[in-house]
Symmetry: C2
Subunit: 194 residues, 2 copies
DNA sequence: CCGCTATTAGCACTTGGTACTAATATGAGT
DNA sequence: ACTCATATTAGTACCAAGTGCTAATAGCGG
């Protein structure tokens, strides 16, 4: 026997895990057993066939892509918006957003949500942030949902500036406050949302 | 004829593009032509079969995953660091970091680089950002390399605070300035809000 | 009616499997 | 050594979603 069954199955799981694209045939050569043995192993371990494995990976990507496209331009999901006035977005903090050590969300994600919202609330796709002041009041952890509310507090049409205040909260407790001085890039605004 | 060939092929490309998981059979039903016609179309258009399409998507994800893991904890690459004193990181602005409309880098990426660097320069893995003031002085575009320099400017050990100033520049021109009030979590600080 | 393109049909073959049955090995217990 | 159980191997039929190839037919313009 080349390897005890248990050990082979462990190694098999590992192999497939770090290269899902490997066929039963390749595996049978690698472990020097028959293809059937590999298949029995996969069945016992509940590992699907190559095509299904690939499909899963692909579906995951595809969903991610679909999901990340809207996210691309706005971090968090906008649930309410009144152009030039106010907007609200929610952002679910996931494990990838936090420091591994303490599970606290990294500041730039809160900033990204708030800044995106500030850009979005401007009636101008080409708005840029000029200045900003931030306060991180309470740490946010994975699993929490951050609700950001943006309000346009002031405007200065001559200078093409607008001032936006964003307050983010988790369960009604404020966790973050940001003020943003925004610059409008379009020419003089004639009046209506396009 | 249900549709001119050209139009069908255009629609076919589109269909496959926004759902790569569709089979020839499904497509033949959809366009009300035979499977063979669909296959001829794919050949003319150079569109690979379903399995190959799925594989491509999967391979892409797989590579992306491997690539994105190391980037996880620090945005930008730290090229020099003296703990509690100063640090330098570089960040290459790529197409995914900019607004599609005007190719200008989204503010949160510059913030993320600066904030990450501020966290890193603290001799404390668990540092948190408390307050921050930002100035976006000049727009940064895709293809440019942003060099961020962080400097610890002040400390307040009793309050577990430190103040970090980060200046980011492209080709020696300052594009961004941020000041960060950081909170150290280590030491024996008992008053930790969870 | 000829010629041309477009479409459809049919068959053999390919990959990477599943499902199932049956034979053989191997080792442990008694 | 004999027996039983588990492990392994072999072999067959079948499937999905194709490719590759040949051949037939449809539709239309001139």
């Amino acid at each position: 026997m080349r390897k005890p069954k248990k050990e082979r199955q462990r190694a098999l799981t590992e192999s497939i895990n770090d290269n899902p694209f490997v066929t039963d045939d390749e595996l049978s050569t690698k472990f020097d057993v028959s293809v059937q043995t590999i298949r029995l192993d996969r069945m016992e371990l509940g590992i699907p066939e190559l095509r299904e494995r690939i499909k899963h990976v692909a579906v995951k990507t595809f969903e991610d892509e679909v999901k990340s496209l809207p996210i691309d331009e706005v971090i968090g999901e906008i649930i309410d918006i009144e152009l030039d006035e106010r907007a609200i977005s929610i952002f679910d903090v996931k494990p990838e957003h936090v420091f591994q050590r303490n599970q606290i969300a990294r500041g730039h994600h809160l900033f990204a949500q708030a800044n995106s919202l500030a850009v979005a609330v401007m009636n101008d796709e080409l708005a840029l942030t000029v200045k900003s002041e931030l306060q991180f009041l309470r740490p946010v952890t994975a699993g929490q949902r951050v609700v950001a509310k943006a309000q346009v507090v002031d405007r200065n049409p001559e200078k093409n500036r607008a001032y936006v205040k964003v307050v983010s909260s988790v369960d009604l407790a404020t966790v973050f406050i940001g003020t943003f001085e925004m610059y409008r890039m379009t020419e003089q605004s004639e009046g209506d949302e396009k």
